[in-house]
């Protein structure tokens, strides 16, 4: 319990300081609200419409692929640090992992997930017709 006393005092001080400052500004500050001041975002263009628009499904596909290859990189860094300790066994395991992921990469590439926009799609169709 002793070890935690400092933490509790710290939390109490933090919360108390914030509460006192907000309370003081409420009590002492002038209140002249205008619509501009009450807008959630005060600089730049006025907000128009909802932020929850529909996005192309392409964004989600790219986000998913990003996640997968981000994890690959998350494995790469610790491996780079511990490369010599892990030796050939670690090398073979990591390369196997990357090979499996690269099959997935080839798959999404060939499936046209990385082709962006109608121009790329039209070009692909034209190439297929020519072939």
């Amino acid at each position: 319990m002793d070890g935690w006393l400092g933490v509790i005092i710290m939390i109490a001080l933090g919360v108390g300081f914030a509460a006192v400052m907000i309370g003081l500004s409420l009590l002492l500050g002038p209140h002249n609200p205008t619509p501009e001041k009450l807008a959630p975002y005060e600089c730049g263009m006025p907000a128009v419409g909802s932020a929850r628009e529909r996005h192309s499904v392409k964004f989600y596909l790219v986000a998913m692929i990003f996640l997968l290859f981000d994890i690959e990189v998350a494995f790469l860094y610790p491996w780079a640090v511990a490369l010599r300790d892990l030796g050939w066994a670690g090398f073979v395991q990591l390369v196997t992992f990357f090979l499996i992921l690269s099959v997935g990469y080839v798959y999404v590439w060939r499936k046209g997930v990385l082709d962006w926009g109608p121009a790329a799609r039209a070009g692909r169709h034209a190439a297929r017709r020519a072939a």
Partner: protein
């Protein structure tokens, strides 16, 4: 790290390589080109089966976390059989429904690899990874018919509740790790054996969370809510795959964790599993009676069958442990064949899975009606089928372990379940008007798979001894 070799992972490696080959072939497939992707998968499955047979009795361990002991290999062989039959049934369905063949077969194979991993895992974290590998593949398979709103709904429900149950399971692993300082099953087992008298409440917390996680996956009541919707919405052949493969894999891991690691605490978990088993058998049967959709009815029936398997787990004597393995095999073949018939009777436009669609099926498709009858009799547990022998051993194990109540509930619910299985048979045979549906022709491959499963059901029912001995030997090596 390679000192222990990679022998134990070879079966799942074969299946994974086949899945990757299918994905690669699909990527380089020209538009409109038909590739024998199912055949590619079968090659991988056969390779995995050969390697599993070669590993028999060798107790190979890879990386310290995957053990190919005879128990794991027996379940592996059952899972490979499930995947093989699924692919054979799928050949017709994929073409008929216009499913994306490459993705479909790759997902079936990835799910199979995850199931094999789950059956042979010797580390709680590997069990979890395997659970995720198979679950994610099966979620996608459930919703693979993107033009069917029921399938989408089923996939979404299954995904949400599956993620929920994974969280329980992971939390249980976290508690176990906090207690034992390891997730390796052998080390956790050593710790638990030493703690059996301590009465540490955290052990019960870990135990309970893991139990909930497993109960979700084997759809034991009251964690079965997702099952009827997911099983009804998915394509019938996928339902067959997930009601047998996922259940077999989850049960293998369940048995491994609870019968070995938490064996010292069986006094604590046996009453809980007793309750789960009783509730599962009763609810699965009673609600199943009221269904008018055949897929939904079989979904409840598969819940009830999960209850019978739990009886074997509670009994936990030598007969019970062998009976679990035998029952898994008998149930897998039977249920898969039943869903195979349903899948083959559907068309692209209509699933034809209402009970009334089967009225007078005998007149239009006598062969399919006869095969379906054998499946239903085996599910109901009538001799001379595999289902009868399986139930016989499960209940006799319960009696010899002193669980008379469970045995009585099991027998009574079996009798009630015979009612709804026979109702389908009566519909098919004793209705004069020909079937309302015009089922499509059945491909030779799918028919061969059906006939082979029916032959296996009857063979297991008449000559169960070799397989039972096999099961008893394979389970005797570890527990």
């Amino acid at each position: 790290m390679f000192s222990s070799g990679i022998d134990a992972v070879v079966p799942m490696l074969c299946v994974t390589l086949a899945a990757l080959a299918v994905m690669g072939a699909e990527a380089f497939r020209a538009r409109g080109e038909q590739l024998p992707l199912g055949g590619l998968g079968v090659v991988g499955l056969v390779g995995a089966a050969i390697s599993a047979v070669l590993l028999w009795n060798r107790n190979a361990v890879s990386f310290g976390v995957v053990v190919a002991d005879n128990f794991g290999l027996f379940v592996t062989l059952v899972l490979l059989l499930v995947a093989l039959l699924t692919i054979m049934f799928s050949s017709t369905v994929v073409r008929r429904d216009g499913l994306p063949a490459g993705e479909y077969y790759a997902l079936v194979l990835f799910a199979t690899a995850g199931m094999i991993m789950m059956a042979t895992a010797n580390d709680l974290l590997v069990v979890f990874i395997a659970l995720e590998i198979l679950s994610i593949a099966v979620y996608v398979l459930t919703g693979i018919r993107r033009d069917d709103s029921r399938a989408i709904e089923a996939a979404f429900k299954y995904f949400l509740l599956g993620a929920f149950s994974s969280a329980f399971f992971l939390y249980g692993i976290a508690f176990t790790y906090g207690l034992a300082g390891s997730t390796r099953l052998d080390r956790v087992g050593t710790y638990m054996a030493a703690q059996s008298m301590s009465g540490n409440p955290l052990i019960l917390v870990a135990l309970g969370l893991l139990l909930v996680g497993f109960a979700f996956k084997i759809s034991a009541v009251p964690f079965h809510m997702w099952t009827p919707d997911a099983y009804e919405g998915a394509p019938a052949v996928v339902t067959g795959f997930m009601s047998t493969g996922v259940k077999a894999a989850a049960f293998a891991a369940f048995a491994r964790v609870f019968l070995s690691v938490f064996e010292p605490f069986s006094g604590e978990w046996a009453p809980l599993v007793w309750l789960l088993a009783a509730a599962t058998m009763i609810l699965g049967t009673v609600v199943g009676v009221a269904q008018s959709n055949l897929k939904r009815m079989l979904a409840y029936s598969s819940i009830a069958h999960g209850g019978y398997l739990l009886v074997g787990l509670v009994a936990a004597n030598q007969v019970g442990k062998a009976a679990i393995l035998f029952y898994l095999l008998a149930y897998a073949v039977t249920n898969l064949a039943a869903f195979g018939v349903i899948a083959l009777l559907g068309t692209r436009e209509a699933a034809n899975d209402e009970l009334r669609d089967y009225a007078g099926l005998w007149h239009t498709r006598p062969a399919l009606a006869a095969l379906m009858t054998v499946c239903l009799l085996s599910l109901g547990g009538l001799p001379p089928t595999a289902g009868f022998i399986g139930k016989w051993y499960i209940f006799s194990a319960a009696v010899s372990a002193g669980y008379y109540g469970l045995a009585v509930i099991g027998v009574l619910t079996s009798v009630v379940s015979v009612f709804f299985y026979l109702r389908v048979v009566v519909m098919m045979y004793m209705t004069d008007r020909p079937a309302a549906i015009a089922p499509p022709p059945v491909s030779a491959v799918a028919m061969a798979a059906l006939v082979a499963s029916i032959a296996a059901i009857i063979a297991l029912g008449i000559l169960p001894t070799p397989v039972l001995d096999f099961a008893a030997q394979s389970i005797a090596t570890i527990f």
